[in-house]
Amino acid sequence: MTVLGTDRVKRGMAEMQKGGVIMDVVNAEQAKIAEQAGAVAVMALERVPSDIRAAGGVARMADPTIVEEVMQAVTIPVMAKARIGHIVEARVLEAMGVDYIDESEVLTPADEIFHLNKKDYTVPFVCGCRDLGEAARRIGEGTSMLRTKGEPGTGNIVEAVRHMREVNAQVRKLIHMSVDEIMTFAKELGAPYEVLLAIKENGRLPVVNFAAGGVATPADAALMMELGADGVFVGSGIFKSDHPEKFAKAIVEATTHFDNYELIANVSKGLGTAMKGLEISTIAPENRMQDRGW
């Protein structure tokens, strides 16, 4: 007898991505460059986050043609984004055979109150989080993988650093807490008690947590690994740089060998200009993607 879509199968898929880089791509050609450079997966999009930010308006699931084109171009797993709470976009991506769905704040939310009940799906999900409360709520809904929200499309690492540190600090606090304190901690965080209890018992999050939202250089990717990320998503950073191929390879190497600083120095040489960054304080609060979802 076989069982599809179990927790082990869905979470295990993300475990296989550990130590790797997942790259945003908008067509088959970029997907091939990413695969050649050693990406562990690609995220098929219509526009990268910095272009979504520049274009404004409502950002939706990518045209299925693009997703299909990318799926045919590479043998590594293909992820795609659905709007927060958009049941049908998620079902459509699942029906197309996408390997992982990102319920993403980069797109305009379809539902401002409810996230998807991700336990209902055979396909696994990745969701963004800024703290342990948000991480635990998403786990409660059935996400199989987490990532920091950061501030997508800015090329500014500061928010991803904040979110990674916050989640990890709260996990450490939880692990050292006495069990009778957990219910109150759950109330403060707005987190499901059972999820917190399991994290305390196992001494770690039950799913992997990648860094995302603002990674622009090899050193940024290595920094996030140093802070405890299991791997890295790079959105606009690669294909908005001067030499995407070289840049993609450099990010992969810096992620694998995040504590080998000579190597990071070497791979960072002559990469040309990284994407132009955005100072977070210049983004109006209503344009901050990290505040979408809760």
Binding site: M1, T2, V3, L4, G5, T6, R8, V9, G12, M13, E15, M16, Q17, K18, G19, G20, E35, Q36, A37, G38, A39, V40, A41, T75, I76, P77, E94, G97, D99, Y100, T122, V123, P124, V252, E253, T256, H257
Partner: protein
């Protein structure tokens, strides 16, 4: 104590290390070629085989890994690791380490949504093993000296050839250590045999 390395370029490395240590051996993450000299056996973990191959090339691991296997030191490949071990890969001109006399089909059961768990009987190891298959490959053809250890719907999903062991599925994702314990025992036996 027997020392078992896990190739640590990418993938589910920590799970294997934990399992190795639960089986009473020392687990070492291998990130540099020089480290191969200090271990008695090696696990090629699950992950993305395409990515691992790029990193293997980049850090000049290919020949040293082939030599490691050539010396008769045991290697266990799980999922992507099985693909790395194979002599032949369906639909591709080139294979990777080409150590094991098997022909494999990548993503043979389908994409992620077709990934599954199933109960398997594994020869020498367990009559009832919970196997987790994730975008898994299977073995299409085997050479005359390869022993089939498990099949699923007539496809070969676990095999052994001398000191080489491979599975399509991920023993490291379960708490069932019987398969890793079997490999650790192979490593112990090979260490004694190579010493004499």
């Amino acid at each position: 104590m027997v020392k078992v390395g896990v190739l640590g370029l990418q993938g589910a490395v920590r799970e294997h290390i934990n399992a190795i240590e639960r089986c009473g051996a020392e687990g070492i993450i291998i990130k540099k070629v020089e480290q191969l000299a200090g271990i008695d056996g090696l696990i090629l973990p699950g992950g993305e085989s395409t990515t691992m191959r790029r990193l293997i090339n980049h850090y000049h691991f290919l020949e040293p890994l082939k030599r490691f296997g050539g010396q008769g030191k045991p290697i266990f490949g799980t999922c992507a690791g099985l693909i790395l071990l194979a002599k032949e890969i369906a639909g591709q001109d080139d294979a990777h380490l080409e150590l094991m006399d098997i022909k494999v089909e990548r993503n043979a059961f389908g994409r992620q949504r077709e990934s599954f768990e199933a109960n398997l009987a594994i020869k020498h190891v367990a009559p009832d093993f919970e196997a987790v298959f994730i975008r898994a490959p299977y073995i299409l053809e085997i050479g005359s000296t390869v022993e089939v250890l498990a099949t699923f719907n007539n496809a070969v999903v676990a095999a052994k050839q001398g000191a080489l062991l491979c599975t399509s599925f991920h023993p490291e994702l379960t708490n069932d250590d019987r398969l890793i314990a079997y490999f650790v025992e192979m490593v112990g036996d090979a260490k004694k045999a190579l010493a004499t």
